[in-house]
Each structure stands twice: as C-alpha cells, then as structure tokens.
C-alpha cells in the first residue's frame, strides 16, 4: 500500500478514523491471542486425563472416530463432551455477567446477583428430597429441569419487579431478597431431609463439569448459541445503554423493552449454566473485566464475542485444573474458578477505587 493509501485508510491525524484504525489492530491482536489460547486449551484438554493417549492417536481418533474402541470411547464419550460443555458454559457465564454489568452500570454485578442460583438450588433440593419419596426415580434430566425451573422462578419474580421499579438499587435489593428467601426455604427443607438425600446438594452447588454427554452438548449448543446470537444483535442498543438510560432512550432505544431483554438474556445464560453444571462463581465478573482491559474498550460489538471466547478458555482451563490437580479426585469447578477469579476481582475493585480518587 502506498503512503497515500494508508493515509486515506487511516484518516488524518487525530481524527476518528485514525483512532479506529489504531484500535482495530489492537482488537485483532487480542482476538488472535484468544483464538490461539482457545485451540491450545482444547488440545491440552483432550490430551490430558487419567488415561494416557499419545497425541498422534488423539488426532487420528478425532478425525476418523476409529481406533482402539476403549480410547475412542474415552475421547469421544468422556473428554470431548466435557470440554465442549466447559467451553460453552464458560462463554455463557461471562456474557451473563457482562449483560448484568451493563444493566446495573456496575462492573461488580455478577450473573447470580439476581438470586438465580438460589432459586435453582431450592428446586434442586426439593427434587433431591422429595422425588424419591413421591415415587419417581430421578433421572439426570430431573435435576437439569429442576435447576432450570428454579432459575425461571427467580427470573419471573425479578421481571415482575423490574417492570414496576425504575430504581436500580431497588432491583438489586429484590434480587438479594429472592436469594435469601430461596436459601431459607432450602434450609428448611434440608432440616427435614435425611443426610443421604442432600449429601450431594452441597457438591451440586459448587458446580461440576463431570459426566457430560452428547445430548447435554446438543441442548446447550442450541440454547447458548441462539442466546449468543441475540445478544450480539443487541450490540447497538447495549452500546447506547452504556451512556445511561436517558441517553439511550434519546437515540431511539425502547428502554422498557430493552431492560427486560437484558435481564432475560442474562438469565437464560446463567440458568443454562446452573442447570447443567451448577452455579459457578467469579467467571461472570472476572472475565468481562479482563477482556475489556485487554481490548481497551467496552464497546459491545467487540466485547461480546471476545468475552464469550475468553470465558470459554478460562472455564476449560479451570476444568483442566479441577480434573488433574488431585486426580482421580475432582475438585469442584467453583473452587478453581475462585482461586483464579477472586484475585482478579479484588484487583479490579482496588484499581477502581484508585481511579475514582
């Protein structure tokens, strides 16, 4: 490209176009790094497990789906579904956090701040305790449906409140209250339950990616995929919303509808994660922050895809650690995400206060 062409492309010094030009190269760099990280972490994940399978055979199995049936099963039925679920749910969780942070105009809002995980836990506990007494055996889908139903109940309440209440703080309080109420109900049920019924409740509430199968992957892919697309299509109104509701409305965003859409999209993401893997903490707060810092902007049209991939990479990485750190015992995924995520969040809060001074 001749010098003149570059000038034309990048615009005169100090102009908007030149800034966009500079930013674009930064975005491209970040996306390339993310893509590489994504591929690397997938490869590492597929390659590691308690059973050692040499890398060459892995590629063979992945591509041809044939070979030693034992190893094929391990790769295709155990590792791959799990990796894909970790990726999709990680992305979903990060986006859920991003959407709520936009809504509350506060970077510390997490995906479960509106009480979704408490609602899910309540219905899961109910299912664990009463399903067997009522004579229906539990299938894994009972728990998934239970968690989803519990999330929807919480979401329903929040939406009702959100339609009447204009004040953010009041909405937040409502979410916290719902969380408390659901926890109280859960504790009440636990008091009457036998130990064996609820022995796995605590483990459930710390989250796990183990035991994922392909039908889980299919459902998650559809739900997360559609919701991601919708979120991405909302990049423009989200960008307007970042200036506050008043300005967003003045450029044509239908605020009443949009608030509900934000809450709904975010809730579907976090409800899906809770349903399949249980509540997982810190991902929704740490990842959007890291991504925005890396990209140097909070414009949704780049932040949304990057956050999704970032969340996928982070969760796959944490799952790797959870699986391998003390093999064959598995750590709960929240434990690992907290170890890595909490320092990020703490740093974020400190640097914010410094900035505000």
């Amino acid at each position: 490209m001749s010098h003149k062409n570059i000038q034309e492309n990048s615009g005169p010094e100090g102009s908007f176009r030149s800034e966009i030009f500079r930013r674009r190269s930064r975005y491209i760099t970040v996306f390339i790094i993310l893509a590489i990280a994504f591929l690397v972490i997938i490869v590492v994940n597929v390659n590691s497990g308690n059973v050692n399978i040499p890398v060459a055979r892995i590629f063979d199995i992945l591509l041809t789906k044939s070979g030693d049936p034992k190893e094929v099963d391990i790769i295709w039925r155990i590792r791959l579904p799990r990796i894909l679920m970790a990726a999709m749910l990680g992305g979903a969780l990060s986006l859920s956090g991003f959407l709520l942070q936009t809504f509350f105009e506060n970077p510390i809002a997490g995906p479960f701040v509106l009480g979704i995980s408490s609602g899910a836990k309540m219905v899961v506990a109910f299912t664990m305790i009463f399903s067997l007494t009522l004579g229906h055996a539990m299938s894994s889908y009972s728990l998934i449906a239970a968690a989803f139903a519990g999330s929807l109940i919480s979401i329903g309440f929040i939406l009702i409140v959100a339609r009447r209440v204009k004040n953010m703080a009041a909405l937040l309080v409502a979410g916290i209250m719902i969380g408390y109420i659901c926890s109280a109900v859960t504790d009440l049920m636990v008091t009457f339950a036998s130990d064996s019924d609820i022995v796995n409740l605590h483990g459930w509430s710390l989250g796990s990616f183990s035991g994922m199968n392909w039908s889980n992957v299919r459902i998650t892919a559809v739900v997360v995929g559609v919701t991601f697309l919708l979120t991405f299509l909302c990049s423009k109104p989200i960008g307007a919303y970042q200036l506050g509701e008043a300005y967003a409305q003045s450029v044509g965003v239908n605020i009443k509808f949009f608030r509900i859409a934000l809450i709904l999209l975010s809730s579907i993401f976090s409800a899906t994660v809770t349903a399949f893997a249980g509540p997982i903490s810190f991902v929704g707060i740490a990842i959007p922050f890291l991504i925005k810092s890396a990209l140097g902007t909070s414009r949704p049209i780049v932040v949304i895809p990057a956050t999704f991939v970032g969340g996928a990479v982070f969760c796959m990485f944490c799952d790797l650690i959870a699986r391998l750190a003390f093999a064959p015992l598995e750590l709960n995924i929240s434990t690992v995400t907290s170890i890595f995520g909490a320092p990020v969040v703490i740093y974020m809060m400190i640097s914010r206060r410094r900035g505000m001074r």
Binding site: F16, S250, V251
Partner: protein, 374 residues
C-alpha cells in the same frame, strides 16, 4: 408559513401522575433559542424531560411539525431531537469519539457499524465544539467542562432539528459557559437548530435567548422575548428576590444596598469612577448618597440601586439650583465626602463649588485617602 413548528398545548407535567406544572402553552419557531428560567424545583427539568419523552405527559399535547409527539416512534424522534442532560455518565473505557459516535445511532444499521460518513460527522461535531483534540481521550479522564462539550457534540452529531439541554452550563467556569452558549448560538443561527434549554444564569439567558419562559408555582408565569421578561420587577417576583437586585439593563446582579436612610458618606463621581466606591461602601454596609449624577451616566445605574439617595440631573443640562441645594444639604449631613474622580466640564462646573464646600467643612477626601480603596 405560519405553521406551528413546536407547540405545547395545555401541557401538564409531573411525576407519579401528580401534576407539577399545568396548562403550559408555548409556541416555538424553528431556529429559536428558548430558555426556561425559574426557581429551583419549579419544574423546568420536568418540562424538558416530558418534551423529550423521558417522562410521561400527564395532560395536554405536544405537537412537533403538526404531528403529535406521542405518535412519533422513538426511532423517528431520535433523528429529530437530541438531548444534553445533567446526569453524570458512568462510562468505562470509552473515548470521546465513542461518546460522540453514539449520536449516529439513529442512522446506522443493525449492528451500529459506522460508515465513513458517520466517522466524518463525528469529527465535524467535535470541531464544532472545539474539542477535536479530545477525541481519543478516555471520557472519564477529562474535566467537567470538557465533558459537557463532548455531550453537546454528541447531540450535534445526531443531526437533530431540536436540541434540548438541561442546565448545560452548571458545571462550567465562565470561559466554558461563554463557549458553550456561543456554540449554541451558532447552531441556531447557522443550522437552524431549535434550542430549548434551562439556565440558572439569567444574565446569560437574557443575552442569548430569543424567547424566555418563566416557570414558577404551578404554571408558566411568563412567556416572551427577553425585553418583555427581563424587567426588574418581573425577575424579582419570579425568583422572589428580597436580598438583592437584578439589573436587566446590563443583566447584572447586585446584592442588597446598605442599611440606613441617613447617609454617612457622599460620593461625587462621574463616568464610572463611582462604581468601585459604591461597591466598597456596600461591602462595609455604609449607607451613602451619590450625586450629582446625570441620568445617562453609568454611575447612576448602580447608584440608584445602592445609594440611599441620589441627586440627579437631566442629561445635557446645566446643574439646576434644586439639585445643587440638595447636594449641599446631603454633604452637611454626611460625615465624609469622597471625590471618586469626577470630571468637571463646562456643563457641570458647579460641581467644583460642591467640592470646595466639602473641603471647607473638612470632609473632603479622595477615595484612596478616605480609607476606601487602599
């Protein structure tokens, strides 16, 4: 044509279904600058927010280009009306360019991607507010005055027909106040953009507006040109001023005059020399009298507000006997006489006699001598 451009017809506005201001009737022409003034909490912002459709209208109608504003979709309205509000933005990692670029939203496609043309308009808008150098900086890192200009640029970038501003000059120092208002004046004059805003600085409002709307109590108490509205009694009543004056001639604000009916000092001055002395005496709460001032002298404008008595003379006349005698009386009453630097010419040569009279009584002093003005 006599078609109405922007009309408020029996408009009622308020919060939570309770009307704050009722029966608002305004008829605004294209390209006019209309300013709402009135005491705090009167409801000026409420009216603006209602016009901008941020707040539900409680009664009456708003017509924009003969269409009822309720029937215009948000999207269409956003190509015609832009706002600059008082809320502080809480942005994260957005540059000024980004902020201004949101003004292009009504014109961009599904994903909000800006075209070359949009990018140029952003630059143009920044240029219009003299903030081109701020473009790449983080919005949070600039001063309040700069932020306000960026927000105005954002509104300009939206290419609206009307810009609504809620106290746009509140956080600005004098320089930026002037700058902002001159930009608004240019927008109205050159581009025919109608400006509807609220201002606290009534002196500025007087100077820039085409129409003034007075808002107080529960209705609009006045609507007219600055000449009609800016009279001392109107302003006094509007703001319920009992501790000072507003001088519409110069658009200046004065504090209360010194207490007392009996002057302690008599100030002789002309052509503006008396003004600093009056101010000093006012500050020390010393009641004074001033004279002999021609009513077209600028000293007179201030003296009539601050002095307990002013001895005047008709312009271009010689000093009359009446005035002269009264002045002498006052000199006798006063403890001191200050010659603030009066210029004695042919017409007012009798002033010299007054000065001599004062000197003979031992009361005369120059401003500096008298301890006024160190």
């Amino acid at each position: 044509m006599n078609e109405k451009y922007f009309e408020l017809s029996n408009l009622s506005v308020g919060y939570n279904r309770k009307p704050l201001i009722e029966d608002i009737c305004l008829d605004i022409k294209k390209g006019e600058i209309v300013t709402l003034i009135g005491p705090n909490g009167a409801g000026k912002s409420t009216i603006l927010k209602s016009i901008a459709r941020q707040l539900e209208i409680l009664g009456g109608k708003v017509f924009f280009d003969s269409k009822e504003i309720r029937d215009i979709s948000y999207k269409e309205l956003s190509t015609k009306m832009a706002v600059v509000l008082t809320e502080r933005l809480k942005t994260e990692l957005l540059t000024c360019h980004d902020i201004v670029a949101t003004g292009r939203y009504p014109y961009t496609g599904r994903l909000g991607i800006l075209s070359r043309e949009d990018e140029d308009k952003v630059d143009e808008a920044l240029r219009a507010v003299n903030a081109l150098d701020l473009g790449s900086r983080d919005f949070n890192a600039i001063s309040d005055g700069q932020k306000q200009r960026i927000l105005l640029a954002r509104a300009i970038c939206q290419e609206p027909e009307i810009i609504i501003l809620d106290e746009p000059t509140s956080f600005l120092d004098i320089r930026y106040k002037l700058e902002l208002l001159s930009i608004l004046g240019r927008m109205a004059g050159e581009k025919g953009i109608t400006i509807i805003m609220t201002l606290h600085e009534i002196d500025l409002a007087q100077k820039i507006s085409d129409k003034i709307v007075c808002v107080s109590g529960d209705h609009v108490t006045g609507y007219g040109t600055p000449q009609e509205i800016f009279r001392e009694d109107v302003i006094r009543e509007l703001y319920d001023i009992d501790n000072g004056f507003f001088d519409p001639m110069f658009g200046s604000i004065e504090l209360m005059k010194p207490e007392g009916d009996v002057p302690e000092v008599f100030v002789i001055s002309s052509g503006g020399t008396g003004i600093p002395v009056y101010r000093e005496l006012q500050k020390s709460n010393t009641p004074f009298a001033a004279g002999i001032l021609y009513t077209n002298d600028m000293d007179y404008q201030l003296a009539r507000l601050l002095a307990c008595e002013v001895v005047t003379e008709e312009p271009f006349e010689e000093i009359s006997e009446r005035a002269f005698e009264r002045a002498k009386e006052l000199i006798s009453i006063s403890g001191r006489v200050i010659n603030a630097g009066v210029r004695i010419g042919t017409g007012n040569r009798r002033i010299k006699e007054l000065l001599d009279f004062a000197e003979a009584l031992g009361k005369l002093g120059r401003a500096e001598q008298a301890g006024v003005l160190e």
